[in-house]
């Protein structure tokens, strides 16, 4: 899928970082724009829906890629290629765990204010 082996090793967490930046950016911008619409709970339904959707899509993508990486890893191979596949698979797994763990909060935690 990704040809440069260094890139393919990093791909999982690279995606995680992008998701991180996007969610953080959307949350901050959303709260800024919604200043007067925010409820007492520090919430704004439109923003929560957007963030939740983004979160679910990225979670699904990361899990999907993890399973793809695992399938690729199962294929017999030796040397550098086997090494690359195994490391890439571990990294996708890390991303698949980190995504819900870090961003799951968008579903229920208060979005704006403190």
């Amino acid at each position: 899928m990704i040809n440069n082996p260094l890139m393919s090793i990093m791909a999982g967490l690279l995606l995680w970082s992008v998701v991180f930046v996007v969610l953080y950016g959307v949350q901050a911008t959303g709260c800024h724009l919604a200043e007067d619409k925010v409820s007492a709970l520090g919430d704004w339904p439109g923003l929560r829906a957007t963030l939740t959707a983004l979160f679910l899509v990225s979670f699904a993508a990361v899990v999907l890629f993890y399973f793809l990486a695992r399938r690729r890893h199962r294929r017999p191979d030796t040397g550098t290629e086997a090494f690359r596949r195994e490391v890439a698979m571990h990294v996708w797994l890390a991303a698949a765990i980190a995504t819900p763990f870090c961003f799951g909060g968008v579903v229920w935690l208060s979005l704006c204010g403190t």
């Binding site: 901050a28 800024h32 963030l51 090494f83 490391v87 909060g105 403190t114």
Partner: protein
């Protein structure tokens, strides 16, 4: 091994011939040294001197705190002491020390003769020395920085620090950072390109993986700090608001930029130490490293996760719960890859039968201390606890458990392990044990007590406390502990001196290691390997004793220095197949001159001699251009025999030589800086008070449009030039002209078309973005002029056109960044105007 197809000199003759090419004579020539053996040692030694200075400051701090209401220092002296202590330890000791270790060891572990850019190593060293020297001079002059090592505005802004103190920090640390960035680029290129033949990615010594990851982290971590420093200095010197809330700035922006660097920094310091452990533990434990692949994956995970948790230093700053949860979760998660490493070490230990030795003892010290530091770290990562312990001595204790546990102890282990390599002598053991125990016990007494004072509410950074506070006994114990620790370090130093003086010369590979640095004489000759190895197994499972004698007798690649040049082998990045021959530049005084000019540039800013700034900047550029002469060729060299019947092109005649990769990485750092700048501007719009501004940063469409077209023309002409080399003077002239137009337009927009940038952060941020792009285009003009000069001198041919292809990279990125910058006034104006209402 490779059969030699050139005539085979005897090992001694070979040594002499190589030494003539690679060696550095004593005397003044040492200032021109570019050899990594010399520079690596120099880096480490200088870092140790700074460690001693930082340690001395720590002793002064502890003396002050030993009793309540102590009259030893006043508030200002105390502030300078802890600020300088923290800054010296982080920027002038920890980072340069591991850079030194890497500079010294990496080429040896990788099976090559030097780093990719020896002159850059030297330049980095001088920048480090001069920058560090500036800080020390300020300390002696009583004008040292005093706002804490993280320099939070408004404390560090004009209103609270009107003197020169903060400027010293901002400028000198940025100066030192140059050496960190250059080391990062150099390490990445070296690990990726200059390895032993056959050393594919999966056969690299594990230390190379660690350093590759660390270098990549430095490349991304330092630019935000540099941008932050530039912005703060712009605010202090020219009153452009970025952190001043009354004009749309926000002090929180500094905290973001600083910790975007600051937390990864902790891992940047820890990972090289961990890499040393992963390298020295297997031979000491007598078993191969367990879980090589898992460790590589864990390294990658740590690198990414550690960037995702910068805000955990800002919990007390008032940030929405969801955002906090991102960072809090990442903070907890990063413990997992750390744990994986520790388990890999324990598994290695369990498989082998560890012999007891001094490095092992320090590793034990590391494990105890680091685990405690990790636990208190997990406590602090919990938001409610952090809000309690924030800014108390509990935090001070935690950070020292992590830094001394995670860096100083492993580095001591590594030093004891590699000193026989560096000196060719065996340690005189008796003192080593006493020294270790004094450091270890002293350390724990000092900092364990600080946990307790912290829990009892003693804030950090206070120079005195009342008697009624009940903190005195614990503080006194802590101070006594610190003196024991200091004596311990003095003993360690004595131990090292004794080793050099009285150590016995013994066999080469005292630990029975399987890595390549032992496949050479000790102390190592300037060229490391008389001929370059080719390996078939993972590079920590080799037999250096056998390999060493083969290589010494010239049975490897490039074993005949009959071309009189410093040559080494570059490999294909992934497979490790030999790809081309790198011909390194010779010893030169240019690095020290260039660093001196760079220093003058920073001094002109520090002393506000702004008329001197452009002159010094131009001289830096000019001096850098002079570097290019040495390795240039006037004719195509053609493929060179490297031994074993193999012929490879020289680096100037290949598609992707080390310099091409260096440019790619440099631009990556550049892009990171630009992105953090844009992030900063965007952040101010989102969160700073006193928005919208009275005057919007509005400009007419024409200026940005002209700049954008010029930038596109430059990129296109630059590409055409490279494709048609060497008949490219016309194209290069067009490139240069287009860049000139772009630079002039962007500068004009910034200086003349905008409202006063001092009025509001919305304007000042547009100003900085435009100025950044203008500066890049100005440099693009220099680069195309340089290309023309190279063609005129006959240094460019169809085959030798790297110079022009480096230009392509530059102009392409200039176009991307410049287009973003040209559009930025419109984005900012509409954000600030419409959307804010």
């Amino acid at each position: 091994m490779i059969e030699e197809d050139m005539k085979q000199p005897s090992p001694v003759a070979l040594h002499k011939a190589l030494e003539r090419v690679w060696g550095t004579p004593p005397g003044l020539a040492r200032l021109a040294a570019v050899n990594h053996n010399i520079l690596g040692k120099r880096f480490m030694l200088t870092a140790l001197v700074f460690f001693a200075v930082g340690g001395l400051l720590a002793m002064l701090i502890r003396t002050q705190l030993a009793s309540s209401e102590s009259a030893f220092m006043d508030a200002e002296q105390y502030a300078q002491s802890f600020t300088m202590h923290g800054s010296i330890m982080m920027f002038l000791f920890a980072i340069p020390f591991f850079e030194g270790v890497a500079i010294y060891l990496l080429p040896k572990l990788l099976g090559t003769r030097d780093l990719a850019f020896p002159r850059l190593t030297a330049y980095g060293y001088w920048c480090y020395l001069f920058g560090g020297g500036t800080l020390i001079a300020a300390l002696l002059g009583g004008v040292a920085p005093n706002s804490g090592w993280f320099m939070y505005p408004p404390l560090s802004s004009n209103s609270y620090s009107p003197g020169i103190n903060s400027d010293v920090w901002l400028l000198a640390i940025t100066f030192v950072e140059i050496s960190a960035l250059s080391a990062a680029i150099e390490i990445m290129v070296t690990v990726l390109k200059l390895r032993a033949a056959g050393m594919s990615l999966d056969k690299m010594p594990i230390f190379a993986w660690y350093m590759l990851v660390v270098a990549a982290m430095m490349l991304v971590g330092f630019p935000p700090l540099i941008i932050g420093s530039v912005l703060l200095e712009l605010e202090r010197a020219f009153h452009l608001p970025f952190f001043d809330p009354s004009r749309g700035g926000d002090p929180l922006l500094w905290q973001h930029l600083f910790w975007l660097f600051g937390h990864p920094e902790v891992y940047i310091i820890f990972l090289p130490a961990a890499g040393a452990i992963s390298t020295i533990l297997p031979p000491l434990a007598g078993a191969p490293l367990a879980g090589y692949r898992m460790i590589v994956a864990a390294l990658v995970a740590m690198a990414f996760l550690s960037f995702g948790l910068w805000v955990h230093h800002m919990y007390a700053a008032g940030i929405p719960h969801v955002a906090l949860s991102f960072f809090s979760a990442a903070s907890a998660l990063v413990a997992v890859p750390t744990g994986i490493q520790i388990f890999a070490w324990l598994a290695t230990l369990a498989q082998g039968s560890a012999r007891f030795s001094v490095p092992m003892l320090h590793m034990f010290g590391f494990l105890c201390t680091f685990v405690i530091g990790g636990l208190t770290g997990v406590m602090l990562a919990m938001v409610p606890f952090d809000l309690q312990a924030h800014d108390t001595h509990f935090v001070v204790a935690h950070l020292h458990y992590v830094l001394i546990g995670g860096f100083v102890f492993p580095m001591l282990a590594a030093t004891y392990y590699w000193l026989p390599h560096l000196s060719g002598r065996q340690p005189v053991q008796h003192l080593s044990y006493a020294a270790f125990w004094m450091v270890f016990i002293g350390f724990n007494v000092t900092f364990f007590a600080m946990h307790l004072t912290g829990l009892r509410g003693m804030p950090r950074r206070i120079f005195e406390y009342p008697i009624e506070s009940g903190w005195e006994t614990l503080n006194f114990i802590s101070s006594m502990g610190s003196f024991v620790m200091a004596m311990g370090f003095a003993l360690v130093a004595l131990d090292f001196i004794l080793l050099f003086r009285f150590g016995r010369r013994r066999r080469r590979n005292p630990w029975g290691a399987g890595t390549l640095e032992w496949a050479m004489a000790t102390p190592p000759p300037s060229y490391n390997f008389a001929s370059l190895p080719s390996i078939e197994r993972r590079a920590d499972l080799l037999d250096p004793d056998r390999l060493g004698s083969q290589l010494a007798s010239g049975k490897g690649y490039l074993g005949a220095p009959n071309r009189g040049r410093m040559e080494l082998l570059a490999v294909e990045m992934i497979s490790g197949n030999p790809e081309h021959v790198v011909r390194l530049p010779r010893r030169t005084f240019l690095p020290i001159w260039t660093a001196a000019a760079t220093g003058c540039f920073f001094l002109s800013l520090l002393f506000k001699l702004y008329w001197l700034t452009p002159i010094t900047f131009a001289s830096v550029i000019l001096l850098f251009l002079l570097w290019s002469g040495d390795t240039a060729e006037k004719t195509d060299v053609g493929d060179l025999p490297v031994g074993g019947g193999l012929k490879l092109p020289p680096h100037g005649e290949t598609a992707r030589p080390p310099s091409w990769w260096a440019m790619v990485f440099a631009l990556a750092a550049d892009a990171t800086a630009f992105i953090s700048l844009l992030f900063g501007c965007f952040f101010l719009w989102v969160s700073a008070p006193n928005w919208p501004p009275q005057q919007l940063p509005q400009v007419a469409l024409a200026g940005p449009a002209i700049a954008a077209i010029a930038l596109l023309v430059a990129a296109w002409a630059g590409r055409s030039a490279a494709a048609r080399s060497p008949d490219a003077i016309g194209w290069l002239a067009l490139t240069g002209f287009a860049q000139l137009v772009a630079a002039a337009t962007l500068t004009w927009l910034a200086v003349a078309a905008l409202p006063d940038p001092r009025s509001h952060a919305a304007v000042s941020s547009v100003f900085v973005v435009l100025a950044y792009a203008g500066l890049r285009s100005g440099l693009g003009m220099v680069i195309s002029g340089y290309g023309i000069w190279r063609i005129r001198r006959g240094y460019v041919s169809e085959r030798r056109n790297v110079d022009l292809r480096l230009g392509v990279l530059w102009h392409d990125y200039s176009a991307v960044a410049g287009l973003a910058a040209a559009g930025f006034p419109f984005v900012m104006a509409s954000l600030a105007g419409e959307l804010s209402r």
